[in-house]
Protein backbone atom coordinates (compact mmCIF):
# COMPACT_ATOMS: atom_id res chain seq x y z
CA UNK A 1 0.00 0.00 0.00
CA UNK A 2 2.06 2.89 -1.28
CA UNK A 3 2.66 5.74 1.07
CA UNK A 4 0.11 4.78 3.71
CA UNK A 5 2.55 3.88 6.46
CA UNK A 6 5.11 6.18 7.98
CA UNK A 7 8.59 5.24 6.91
CA UNK A 8 11.11 4.59 9.63
CA UNK A 9 8.77 5.47 12.39
CA UNK A 10 9.83 3.47 15.44
CA UNK A 11 7.06 1.83 17.41
CA UNK A 12 7.88 3.77 20.49
CA UNK A 13 10.57 6.39 20.59
CA UNK A 14 10.45 6.40 24.35
CA UNK A 15 11.15 2.68 24.71
CA UNK A 16 14.63 1.71 25.85
CA UNK A 17 17.25 1.16 23.19
CA UNK A 18 18.29 -2.49 23.07
CA UNK A 19 20.28 -3.11 19.91
CA UNK A 20 22.33 -0.50 18.12
CA UNK A 21 24.17 -0.95 14.84
CA UNK A 22 26.42 2.06 14.48
CA UNK A 23 27.96 2.66 11.05
CA UNK A 24 28.64 -1.06 10.67
CA UNK A 25 30.54 -2.29 7.64
CA UNK A 26 32.01 -5.63 6.63
CA UNK A 27 34.47 -6.23 3.83
CA UNK A 28 35.46 -9.79 2.99
CA UNK A 29 38.99 -10.08 1.63
CA UNK A 30 40.26 -13.07 -0.28
CA UNK A 31 43.82 -14.34 -0.13
CA UNK A 32 44.31 -12.95 -3.63
CA UNK A 33 43.49 -9.47 -2.42
CA UNK A 34 40.00 -9.23 -3.87
CA UNK A 35 37.49 -7.65 -1.56
CA UNK A 36 33.71 -7.74 -1.37
CA UNK A 37 31.67 -5.24 0.60
CA UNK A 38 29.02 -7.35 2.33
CA UNK A 39 27.66 -4.57 4.55
CA UNK A 40 28.24 -0.84 4.30
CA UNK A 41 27.59 2.01 6.73
CA UNK A 42 24.69 0.25 8.39
CA UNK A 43 23.14 2.17 11.27
CA UNK A 44 19.94 1.14 13.00
CA UNK A 45 18.48 1.00 16.47
CA UNK A 46 15.99 -1.50 17.83
CA UNK A 47 14.01 -0.72 20.95
CA UNK A 48 12.58 -2.78 23.77
CA UNK A 49 9.30 -4.48 22.93
CA UNK A 50 9.82 -4.16 19.21
CA UNK A 51 9.70 -6.82 16.53
CA UNK A 52 12.04 -5.71 13.77
CA UNK A 53 12.07 -7.46 10.42
CA UNK A 54 15.09 -7.53 8.17
CA UNK A 55 14.25 -8.04 4.52
CA UNK A 56 16.40 -8.13 1.44
CA UNK A 57 17.14 -10.17 -1.63
CA UNK A 58 19.63 -13.06 -1.58
CA UNK A 59 23.13 -11.85 -0.79
CA UNK A 60 21.87 -8.52 0.54
CA UNK A 61 23.88 -8.91 3.76
CA UNK A 62 21.18 -10.02 6.21
CA UNK A 63 23.04 -13.04 7.55
CA UNK A 64 26.36 -11.16 7.71
CA UNK A 65 24.64 -8.48 9.74
CA UNK A 66 23.29 -11.05 12.18
CA UNK A 67 26.67 -12.80 12.40
CA UNK A 68 28.20 -9.46 13.38
CA UNK A 69 25.49 -8.90 15.94
CA UNK A 70 26.26 -12.28 17.52
CA UNK A 71 29.99 -11.57 17.47
CA UNK A 72 30.70 -14.43 15.08
CA UNK A 73 32.16 -11.93 12.63
CA UNK A 74 34.01 -8.76 13.49
CA UNK A 75 32.79 -5.67 11.64
CA UNK A 76 35.41 -4.00 9.47
CA UNK A 77 34.01 -0.67 10.59
CA UNK A 78 31.55 0.44 13.24
CA UNK A 79 30.16 -1.30 16.29
CA UNK A 80 27.18 -3.37 17.36
CA UNK A 81 25.95 -2.91 20.90
CA UNK A 82 23.29 -4.67 22.93
CA UNK A 83 22.02 -2.94 26.04
CA UNK A 84 24.99 -0.59 25.89
CA UNK A 85 27.54 -3.42 25.86
CA UNK A 86 29.67 -4.82 23.09
CA UNK A 87 27.31 -7.34 21.47
CA UNK A 88 29.53 -10.39 22.05
CA UNK A 89 30.13 -9.38 25.64
CA UNK A 90 26.38 -9.12 26.20
CA UNK A 91 25.72 -12.54 24.67
CA UNK A 92 28.43 -14.22 26.73
CA UNK A 93 26.94 -12.69 29.82
CA UNK A 94 23.20 -13.03 29.15
CA UNK A 95 22.67 -15.15 26.02
CA UNK A 96 20.05 -14.67 23.34
CA UNK A 97 17.58 -16.94 21.59
CA UNK A 98 18.98 -17.52 18.13
CA UNK A 99 17.71 -19.51 15.20
CA UNK A 100 20.24 -19.54 12.38
CA UNK A 101 19.41 -19.84 8.71
CA UNK A 102 21.30 -23.12 8.55
CA UNK A 103 20.30 -25.47 11.34
CA UNK A 104 23.64 -26.93 12.33
CA UNK A 105 23.24 -29.46 15.13
CA UNK A 106 25.42 -32.54 15.41
CA UNK A 107 23.48 -35.16 13.39
CA UNK A 108 24.46 -37.92 15.82
CA UNK A 109 22.68 -36.28 18.73
CA UNK A 110 19.09 -37.15 19.53
CA UNK A 111 16.58 -34.32 19.38
CA UNK A 112 15.85 -34.43 23.09
CA UNK A 113 19.46 -34.69 24.20
CA UNK A 114 20.32 -31.81 21.87
CA UNK A 115 17.77 -29.71 23.74
CA UNK A 116 19.09 -30.87 27.12
CA UNK A 117 22.62 -29.93 26.05
CA UNK A 118 21.57 -26.48 24.87
CA UNK A 119 19.54 -25.98 28.04
CA UNK A 120 22.61 -26.85 30.11
CA UNK A 121 24.74 -24.36 28.20
CA UNK A 122 21.99 -21.77 28.51
CA UNK A 123 22.38 -22.00 32.27
CA UNK A 124 18.92 -23.41 32.99
CA UNK A 125 19.05 -25.00 36.46
CA UNK A 126 19.32 -28.78 36.39
CA UNK A 127 15.94 -29.21 38.10
CA UNK A 128 14.26 -27.04 35.44
CA UNK A 129 15.76 -28.58 32.33
CA UNK A 130 13.32 -31.40 31.74
CA UNK A 131 10.35 -29.08 32.30
CA UNK A 132 11.69 -26.53 29.80
CA UNK A 133 12.54 -29.23 27.29
CA UNK A 134 9.03 -30.70 27.61
CA UNK A 135 7.58 -27.23 27.13
CA UNK A 136 9.40 -26.47 23.86
CA UNK A 137 8.85 -30.01 22.60
CA UNK A 138 5.10 -29.58 23.09
CA UNK A 139 5.10 -26.03 21.75
CA UNK A 140 6.76 -27.11 18.52
CA UNK A 141 5.09 -30.46 18.11
CA UNK A 142 8.27 -32.48 18.47
CA UNK A 143 6.93 -35.10 20.90
CA UNK A 144 7.02 -37.95 18.41
CA UNK A 145 10.50 -36.96 17.23
CA UNK A 146 12.21 -36.37 20.55
CA UNK A 147 14.09 -39.66 20.60
CA UNK A 148 15.09 -39.50 16.93
CA UNK A 149 18.60 -38.64 15.89
CA UNK A 150 18.96 -35.20 14.38
CA UNK A 151 20.05 -36.74 11.08
CA UNK A 152 16.71 -38.58 10.89
CA UNK A 153 14.63 -35.40 11.11
CA UNK A 154 12.99 -33.89 8.06
CA UNK A 155 13.82 -30.32 7.04
CA UNK A 156 10.69 -28.98 8.69
CA UNK A 157 11.24 -30.91 11.92
CA UNK A 158 14.87 -29.81 12.02
CA UNK A 159 13.70 -26.23 11.64
CA UNK A 160 11.31 -26.74 14.54
CA UNK A 161 14.12 -28.22 16.63
CA UNK A 162 16.22 -25.16 15.83
CA UNK A 163 13.40 -22.91 16.94
CA UNK A 164 12.86 -25.04 20.06
CA UNK A 165 16.46 -24.56 21.21
CA UNK A 166 16.09 -20.80 20.69
CA UNK A 167 13.04 -20.75 22.96
CA UNK A 168 14.48 -22.91 25.74
CA UNK A 169 15.19 -19.97 28.00
CA UNK A 170 13.06 -16.94 28.54
CA UNK A 171 15.40 -14.67 26.58
CA UNK A 172 15.08 -10.90 26.36
CA UNK A 173 16.35 -10.93 22.79
CA UNK A 174 15.40 -13.34 20.02
CA UNK A 175 17.06 -13.39 16.61
CA UNK A 176 15.36 -15.56 14.03
CA UNK A 177 17.03 -15.93 10.64
CA UNK A 178 14.65 -17.30 7.99
CA UNK A 179 12.51 -18.94 10.69
CA UNK A 180 9.88 -20.48 8.42
CA UNK A 181 12.32 -21.84 5.87
CA UNK A 182 11.28 -25.43 5.23
CA UNK A 183 8.09 -25.26 7.30
CA UNK A 184 4.82 -26.34 5.76
CA UNK A 185 1.88 -23.86 5.69
CA UNK A 186 0.39 -25.25 8.91
CA UNK A 187 3.64 -24.79 10.83
CA UNK A 188 4.34 -21.43 9.18
CA UNK A 189 1.02 -20.26 10.59
CA UNK A 190 1.80 -21.87 13.94
CA UNK A 191 5.16 -20.10 13.94
CA UNK A 192 3.41 -16.75 13.50
CA UNK A 193 1.18 -17.51 16.46
CA UNK A 194 4.20 -18.48 18.56
CA UNK A 195 6.00 -15.24 17.69
CA UNK A 196 2.87 -13.22 18.49
CA UNK A 197 2.76 -14.95 21.87
CA UNK A 198 6.41 -14.13 22.40
CA UNK A 199 5.77 -10.42 22.00
CA UNK A 200 6.36 -8.75 25.35
CA UNK A 201 7.11 -5.16 26.38
CA UNK A 202 10.59 -6.09 27.59
CA UNK A 203 11.47 -8.41 24.72
CA UNK A 204 13.07 -7.52 21.41
CA UNK A 205 12.75 -9.79 18.41
CA UNK A 206 14.66 -9.62 15.12
CA UNK A 207 13.37 -11.64 12.20
CA UNK A 208 15.31 -11.88 8.94
CA UNK A 209 13.19 -13.27 6.17
CA UNK A 210 12.53 -13.35 2.46
CA UNK A 211 8.87 -13.74 3.27
CA UNK A 212 7.45 -10.22 3.11
CA UNK A 213 3.96 -11.36 4.01
CA UNK A 214 5.31 -12.90 7.20
CA UNK A 215 7.21 -9.75 8.10
CA UNK A 216 4.19 -7.59 7.28
CA UNK A 217 2.13 -9.61 9.75
CA UNK A 218 4.70 -9.93 12.53
CA UNK A 219 7.07 -6.99 12.51
CA UNK A 220 6.51 -3.47 13.74
CA UNK A 221 9.17 -2.18 11.40
CA UNK A 222 11.13 -3.75 8.60
CA UNK A 223 14.65 -2.77 7.61
CA UNK A 224 15.09 -3.30 3.89
CA UNK A 225 18.66 -4.09 2.91
CA UNK A 226 20.10 -4.38 -0.54
CA UNK A 227 23.72 -4.75 -1.61
CA UNK A 228 24.83 -4.42 1.98
CA UNK A 229 23.18 -1.07 2.56
CA UNK A 230 20.15 -0.14 4.56
CA UNK A 231 17.75 1.15 1.93
CA UNK A 232 14.90 2.16 4.19
CA UNK A 233 13.04 1.24 7.35
CA UNK A 234 9.34 0.69 6.86
CA UNK A 235 6.70 0.82 9.53
CA UNK A 236 4.18 -1.92 8.85
CA UNK A 237 1.30 -0.28 10.69
CA UNK A 238 -1.31 2.15 9.41
CA UNK A 239 -0.54 5.13 11.61
CA UNK A 240 -0.58 7.69 8.81
CA UNK A 241 -3.62 7.27 6.62
CA UNK A 242 -3.16 10.44 4.57
CA UNK A 243 -1.21 10.18 1.36
CA UNK A 244 -1.04 11.77 -2.02
CA UNK A 245 -0.19 8.48 -3.70
CA UNK A 246 -2.79 6.31 -5.34
CA UNK A 247 -3.21 2.83 -3.88
CA UNK A 248 -5.07 -0.04 -5.52
CA UNK A 249 -7.28 -2.46 -3.67
CA UNK A 250 -9.12 -5.50 -4.93
CA UNK A 251 -12.72 -5.42 -3.81
CA UNK A 252 -14.86 -8.54 -3.88
CA UNK A 253 -18.63 -8.12 -3.82
CA UNK A 254 -21.12 -10.85 -2.92
CA UNK A 255 -24.01 -8.70 -4.20
CA UNK A 256 -24.66 -5.18 -5.45
CA UNK A 257 -22.41 -5.34 -8.51
CA UNK A 258 -24.48 -2.67 -10.24
CA UNK A 259 -23.67 -0.20 -7.42
CA UNK A 260 -19.89 -0.28 -7.74
CA UNK A 261 -19.50 2.44 -10.36
CA UNK A 262 -21.74 4.79 -8.45
CA UNK A 263 -19.19 4.80 -5.64
CA UNK A 264 -15.96 3.96 -7.50
CA UNK A 265 -16.40 5.45 -11.00
CA UNK A 266 -12.95 4.22 -12.10
CA UNK A 267 -13.37 0.64 -10.78
CA UNK A 268 -11.98 -2.00 -13.14
CA UNK A 269 -13.90 -5.26 -13.41
CA UNK A 270 -11.46 -8.11 -12.68
CA UNK A 271 -14.16 -10.77 -13.17
CA UNK A 272 -15.88 -13.15 -10.76
CA UNK A 273 -17.34 -10.26 -8.75
CA UNK A 274 -13.93 -8.65 -8.17
CA UNK A 275 -13.05 -5.03 -8.86
CA UNK A 276 -9.80 -3.07 -8.73
CA UNK A 277 -10.31 0.34 -7.17
CA UNK A 278 -7.89 3.20 -6.58
CA UNK A 279 -7.92 5.45 -3.50
CA UNK A 280 -5.54 7.95 -1.91
CA UNK A 281 -6.10 7.20 1.75
CA UNK A 282 -7.70 4.78 4.14
CA UNK A 283 -10.18 7.50 5.05
CA UNK A 284 -11.28 7.74 1.43
CA UNK A 285 -11.48 3.95 1.15
CA UNK A 286 -13.57 3.56 4.31
CA UNK A 287 -15.93 6.38 3.34
CA UNK A 288 -16.48 4.84 -0.07
CA UNK A 289 -17.05 1.38 1.39
CA UNK A 290 -19.54 2.79 3.87
CA UNK A 291 -21.36 4.45 0.98
CA UNK A 292 -21.33 1.22 -1.01
CA UNK A 293 -22.64 -0.85 1.90
CA UNK A 294 -25.19 1.85 2.68
CA UNK A 295 -26.53 1.50 -0.85
CA UNK A 296 -27.10 -2.21 -0.22
CA UNK A 297 -23.97 -3.89 -1.58
CA UNK A 298 -22.51 -6.85 0.31
CA UNK A 299 -18.68 -6.63 0.51
CA UNK A 300 -16.92 -9.99 0.78
CA UNK A 301 -13.31 -8.76 0.99
CA UNK A 302 -10.98 -5.80 0.51
CA UNK A 303 -7.35 -6.63 -0.15
CA UNK A 304 -4.54 -4.24 -1.04
CA UNK A 305 -3.00 -5.08 -4.37
CA UNK A 306 0.37 -5.00 -2.70
CA UNK A 307 1.12 -5.04 1.00
CA UNK A 308 2.72 -2.02 2.59
CA UNK A 309 5.95 -3.84 2.79
CA UNK A 310 5.88 -5.32 -0.68
CA UNK A 311 5.37 -1.90 -2.18
CA UNK A 312 8.21 -0.42 -0.18
CA UNK A 313 10.43 -3.39 -0.89
CA UNK A 314 9.88 -3.08 -4.62
CA UNK A 315 10.65 0.60 -4.51
CA UNK A 316 13.77 0.11 -2.40
CA UNK A 317 15.21 -2.90 -4.14
CA UNK A 318 13.80 -2.42 -7.59
CA UNK A 319 11.11 -4.12 -9.61
CA UNK A 320 13.68 -6.54 -11.03
CA UNK A 321 13.98 -8.25 -7.66
Amino acid sequence: MAGLPAIGDARSRTAALVIEFRNVGKIYKSLLGNSVKAVEEFSLTVVEGEILGIAGPNGAGKTTLIAMMLGYLHPTTGTVEINGMHARQYIEQSGIGYLSELIAINPKWRAETALVRFATLAGIPHSEISRRVDYVVDLLGLAEHRSKKVKALSKGNLQRLGLAQALLRDEQILVLDEPTHGLDPVWSQRFREIVEDLRRPDRTILIASHNLDELQRLADRVAIIDRGRLQRVVSTGYENPATAEATRFRLTLASGHDLIRAVFPDAEDAGRGEYDVTVHSLVELNAALADLIGRGALVASVVPERSVLEQQFREAVGESQ
Binding site: Q93, G97, L102, N106, L121
Partner: protein, 245 residues
Protein backbone atom coordinates in the same frame (compact mmCIF):
# COMPACT_ATOMS: atom_id res chain seq x y z
CA UNK B 1 23.18 -19.40 37.26
CA UNK B 2 26.91 -18.90 37.27
CA UNK B 3 28.22 -19.22 33.71
CA UNK B 4 31.33 -21.13 34.72
CA UNK B 5 29.17 -23.60 36.61
CA UNK B 6 26.89 -24.06 33.58
CA UNK B 7 29.92 -24.74 31.44
CA UNK B 8 31.30 -27.19 34.00
CA UNK B 9 27.92 -28.98 33.95
CA UNK B 10 28.33 -29.36 30.21
CA UNK B 11 31.67 -31.19 30.57
CA UNK B 12 30.06 -34.67 30.88
CA UNK B 13 28.49 -34.08 27.47
CA UNK B 14 31.88 -33.10 26.08
CA UNK B 15 33.39 -36.22 27.59
CA UNK B 16 30.60 -38.35 26.12
CA UNK B 17 31.30 -36.90 22.66
CA UNK B 18 34.99 -37.57 23.13
CA UNK B 19 34.41 -41.16 24.21
CA UNK B 20 32.10 -41.97 21.30
CA UNK B 21 33.84 -40.08 18.55
CA UNK B 22 37.51 -40.24 19.51
CA UNK B 23 38.09 -42.41 22.57
CA UNK B 24 36.78 -45.53 20.88
CA UNK B 25 38.97 -44.85 17.84
CA UNK B 26 42.04 -44.30 20.03
CA UNK B 27 41.43 -47.57 21.89
CA UNK B 28 40.85 -49.59 18.74
CA UNK B 29 43.83 -48.14 16.84
CA UNK B 30 46.05 -48.31 19.91
CA UNK B 31 45.10 -51.90 20.61
CA UNK B 32 45.52 -53.05 17.02
CA UNK B 33 48.80 -51.23 16.56
CA UNK B 34 50.07 -52.56 19.85
CA UNK B 35 48.94 -56.05 18.91
CA UNK B 36 50.71 -55.87 15.53
CA UNK B 37 53.84 -54.63 17.27
CA UNK B 38 53.87 -57.07 20.14
CA UNK B 39 52.25 -60.21 18.71
CA UNK B 40 55.28 -61.32 16.63
CA UNK B 41 57.58 -61.08 19.61
CA UNK B 42 55.06 -62.09 22.23
CA UNK B 43 56.79 -65.27 23.22
CA UNK B 44 60.22 -63.69 23.38
CA UNK B 45 59.10 -60.52 25.03
CA UNK B 46 58.27 -61.94 28.42
CA UNK B 47 61.41 -63.96 28.92
CA UNK B 48 63.73 -61.48 27.20
CA UNK B 49 62.49 -58.51 29.22
CA UNK B 50 62.41 -60.53 32.41
CA UNK B 51 65.98 -61.59 31.83
CA UNK B 52 67.49 -58.32 30.59
CA UNK B 53 64.90 -55.74 31.59
CA UNK B 54 65.28 -52.31 30.05
CA UNK B 55 68.69 -53.26 28.67
CA UNK B 56 66.98 -55.52 26.16
CA UNK B 57 66.76 -54.22 22.57
CA UNK B 58 63.07 -55.19 22.69
CA UNK B 59 62.54 -52.49 25.28
CA UNK B 60 63.74 -49.80 22.84
CA UNK B 61 61.42 -51.15 20.15
CA UNK B 62 58.56 -51.21 22.62
CA UNK B 63 59.20 -47.60 23.62
CA UNK B 64 59.23 -46.52 19.99
CA UNK B 65 55.91 -48.26 19.48
CA UNK B 66 54.11 -46.86 22.51
CA UNK B 67 55.53 -43.40 21.85
CA UNK B 68 54.09 -43.49 18.33
CA UNK B 69 50.71 -44.67 19.67
CA UNK B 70 50.66 -41.78 22.16
CA UNK B 71 51.45 -39.24 19.42
CA UNK B 72 48.74 -40.67 17.18
CA UNK B 73 46.23 -40.62 20.05
CA UNK B 74 46.92 -36.97 20.71
CA UNK B 75 46.53 -36.23 17.01
CA UNK B 76 43.14 -38.00 17.01
CA UNK B 77 42.08 -36.22 20.20
CA UNK B 78 42.79 -32.66 19.10
CA UNK B 79 42.06 -33.02 15.40
CA UNK B 80 39.13 -30.71 14.64
CA UNK B 81 38.71 -29.79 18.29
CA UNK B 82 37.74 -26.27 17.21
CA UNK B 83 37.72 -26.36 13.42
CA UNK B 84 34.93 -28.98 13.18
CA UNK B 85 32.47 -26.71 15.00
CA UNK B 86 33.47 -23.86 12.72
CA UNK B 87 33.37 -25.90 9.51
CA UNK B 88 30.00 -27.47 10.25
CA UNK B 89 28.48 -24.37 11.84
CA UNK B 90 27.81 -25.93 15.26
CA UNK B 91 29.22 -22.81 16.90
CA UNK B 92 26.12 -20.83 15.91
CA UNK B 93 23.78 -22.34 18.50
CA UNK B 94 26.48 -23.11 21.06
CA UNK B 95 27.70 -19.55 21.38
CA UNK B 96 24.34 -17.80 21.24
CA UNK B 97 24.04 -19.19 24.75
CA UNK B 98 25.76 -17.35 27.60
CA UNK B 99 29.02 -19.17 26.93
CA UNK B 100 32.51 -17.84 26.42
CA UNK B 101 34.05 -19.77 23.48
CA UNK B 102 37.51 -19.41 25.04
CA UNK B 103 36.41 -21.18 28.22
CA UNK B 104 34.33 -23.70 26.26
CA UNK B 105 37.29 -24.85 24.17
CA UNK B 106 39.74 -24.66 27.07
CA UNK B 107 37.43 -27.03 28.95
CA UNK B 108 37.11 -29.26 25.88
CA UNK B 109 40.91 -29.43 25.64
CA UNK B 110 41.08 -30.52 29.27
CA UNK B 111 38.28 -33.06 28.81
CA UNK B 112 40.09 -34.51 25.78
CA UNK B 113 43.27 -34.74 27.85
CA UNK B 114 41.44 -36.76 30.49
CA UNK B 115 40.03 -38.93 27.70
CA UNK B 116 43.46 -39.58 26.19
CA UNK B 117 44.97 -40.36 29.58
CA UNK B 118 42.15 -42.81 30.38
CA UNK B 119 42.42 -44.49 26.97
CA UNK B 120 46.17 -44.85 27.39
CA UNK B 121 45.62 -46.17 30.90
CA UNK B 122 43.45 -48.98 29.54
CA UNK B 123 46.07 -49.85 26.92
CA UNK B 124 48.87 -49.63 29.48
CA UNK B 125 47.07 -52.06 31.78
CA UNK B 126 46.77 -54.51 28.88
CA UNK B 127 50.44 -54.07 28.00
CA UNK B 128 51.46 -54.56 31.59
CA UNK B 129 49.95 -58.07 31.56
CA UNK B 130 52.54 -59.02 28.93
CA UNK B 131 55.40 -56.77 30.00
CA UNK B 132 55.44 -56.64 33.81
CA UNK B 133 58.35 -54.17 33.93
CA UNK B 134 56.27 -51.59 32.04
CA UNK B 135 55.45 -48.80 34.52
CA UNK B 136 51.91 -47.51 34.10
CA UNK B 137 52.61 -44.43 36.24
CA UNK B 138 55.66 -43.40 34.19
CA UNK B 139 53.76 -43.98 30.97
CA UNK B 140 50.81 -41.83 32.07
CA UNK B 141 53.22 -39.05 32.99
CA UNK B 142 54.63 -39.26 29.47
CA UNK B 143 51.12 -39.24 27.95
CA UNK B 144 50.20 -36.08 29.87
CA UNK B 145 53.42 -34.39 28.79
CA UNK B 146 52.95 -35.26 25.13
CA UNK B 147 49.31 -34.20 25.26
CA UNK B 148 50.31 -30.72 26.40
CA UNK B 149 53.29 -30.51 24.05
CA UNK B 150 51.67 -31.82 20.90
CA UNK B 151 48.05 -31.11 21.79
CA UNK B 152 48.80 -27.45 22.52
CA UNK B 153 50.19 -27.01 19.02
CA UNK B 154 47.29 -29.03 17.60
CA UNK B 155 44.82 -26.81 19.41
CA UNK B 156 46.39 -23.70 17.94
CA UNK B 157 46.37 -25.21 14.46
CA UNK B 158 42.69 -26.16 14.88
CA UNK B 159 41.83 -22.58 15.77
CA UNK B 160 43.94 -21.10 13.00
CA UNK B 161 43.05 -23.41 10.13
CA UNK B 162 40.32 -25.74 9.01
CA UNK B 163 42.79 -28.37 7.76
CA UNK B 164 44.21 -29.13 11.15
CA UNK B 165 45.26 -32.77 11.02
CA UNK B 166 47.18 -32.20 7.81
CA UNK B 167 48.72 -29.02 9.23
CA UNK B 168 49.63 -30.62 12.54
CA UNK B 169 51.11 -33.69 10.90
CA UNK B 170 53.07 -31.41 8.55
CA UNK B 171 54.34 -29.27 11.45
CA UNK B 172 55.28 -32.34 13.49
CA UNK B 173 56.98 -34.30 10.72
CA UNK B 174 58.37 -31.18 9.03
CA UNK B 175 60.02 -30.13 12.28
CA UNK B 176 61.66 -33.51 12.63
CA UNK B 177 62.92 -33.43 9.05
CA UNK B 178 64.14 -29.82 9.16
CA UNK B 179 65.82 -30.27 12.51
CA UNK B 180 67.48 -33.41 11.18
CA UNK B 181 68.69 -31.58 8.07
CA UNK B 182 69.75 -28.22 9.46
CA UNK B 183 70.02 -28.67 13.23
CA UNK B 184 73.63 -29.95 13.21
CA UNK B 185 74.87 -27.17 10.88
CA UNK B 186 76.40 -24.02 12.19
CA UNK B 187 74.62 -21.31 10.24
CA UNK B 188 71.40 -19.24 10.37
CA UNK B 189 69.32 -22.26 9.41
CA UNK B 190 70.34 -24.16 12.51
CA UNK B 191 69.23 -21.17 14.58
CA UNK B 192 66.00 -20.87 12.62
CA UNK B 193 65.03 -24.51 13.18
CA UNK B 194 65.45 -23.96 16.91
CA UNK B 195 62.14 -22.09 16.72
CA UNK B 196 60.35 -25.19 15.45
CA UNK B 197 58.51 -27.52 17.86
CA UNK B 198 61.09 -29.46 19.92
CA UNK B 199 60.06 -32.84 18.50
CA UNK B 200 63.68 -34.00 18.49
CA UNK B 201 63.53 -34.15 22.27
CA UNK B 202 60.65 -36.61 22.21
CA UNK B 203 62.66 -39.79 21.80
CA UNK B 204 65.00 -38.97 24.66
CA UNK B 205 62.12 -37.92 26.90
CA UNK B 206 60.09 -41.03 25.99
CA UNK B 207 62.97 -43.36 26.78
CA UNK B 208 63.87 -41.63 30.00
CA UNK B 209 60.40 -40.85 31.32
CA UNK B 210 58.78 -44.21 30.57
CA UNK B 211 61.81 -46.17 31.76
CA UNK B 212 62.75 -44.24 34.87
CA UNK B 213 59.96 -41.76 35.55
CA UNK B 214 62.33 -38.84 35.17
CA UNK B 215 63.79 -36.81 32.32
CA UNK B 216 65.99 -33.79 31.73
CA UNK B 217 64.18 -30.82 33.18
CA UNK B 218 65.16 -28.61 30.24
CA UNK B 219 63.72 -31.11 27.75
CA UNK B 220 60.46 -31.38 29.67
CA UNK B 221 60.22 -27.62 30.03
CA UNK B 222 60.87 -27.12 26.32
CA UNK B 223 58.11 -29.53 25.40
CA UNK B 224 55.64 -28.27 27.99
CA UNK B 225 56.46 -24.62 27.35
CA UNK B 226 56.14 -24.92 23.61
CA UNK B 227 52.78 -26.69 23.83
CA UNK B 228 51.44 -24.37 26.53
CA UNK B 229 52.52 -21.30 24.57
CA UNK B 230 50.65 -22.45 21.47
CA UNK B 231 47.61 -23.43 23.52
CA UNK B 232 47.49 -19.90 24.96
CA UNK B 233 48.02 -18.44 21.47
CA UNK B 234 45.08 -20.56 20.28
CA UNK B 235 42.90 -19.19 23.08
CA UNK B 236 43.98 -15.64 22.21
CA UNK B 237 43.11 -16.24 18.57
CA UNK B 238 39.70 -17.52 19.65
CA UNK B 239 39.18 -14.41 21.77
CA UNK B 240 40.21 -11.89 19.11
CA UNK B 241 39.43 -13.75 15.90
CA UNK B 242 36.09 -14.43 14.22
CA UNK B 243 34.36 -17.78 14.58
CA UNK B 244 32.56 -17.40 11.27
CA UNK B 245 35.51 -16.39 9.05
Amino acid sequence: MNRALSLARYSPWQFRDFALERGAAILIIGFLWGFVLIAPMRIAIGSELTANGQASPLWAILLQGVSAIVSLSVLIAVNGIVSTDRKLGYYRFLFAKPVDPVLYYAQLFLVAMIGVVLSMLVLAILLRTIVPIFSIGNFILYVALIYVAMGGIGFFVSVATRFDWVSLAAVWLGSRILRGLYGPKDDWRSKAVELLPPVHKLDAVATSLISTGSAHVSDVLWLLGYGALFFVLGLALLRWGSLAD
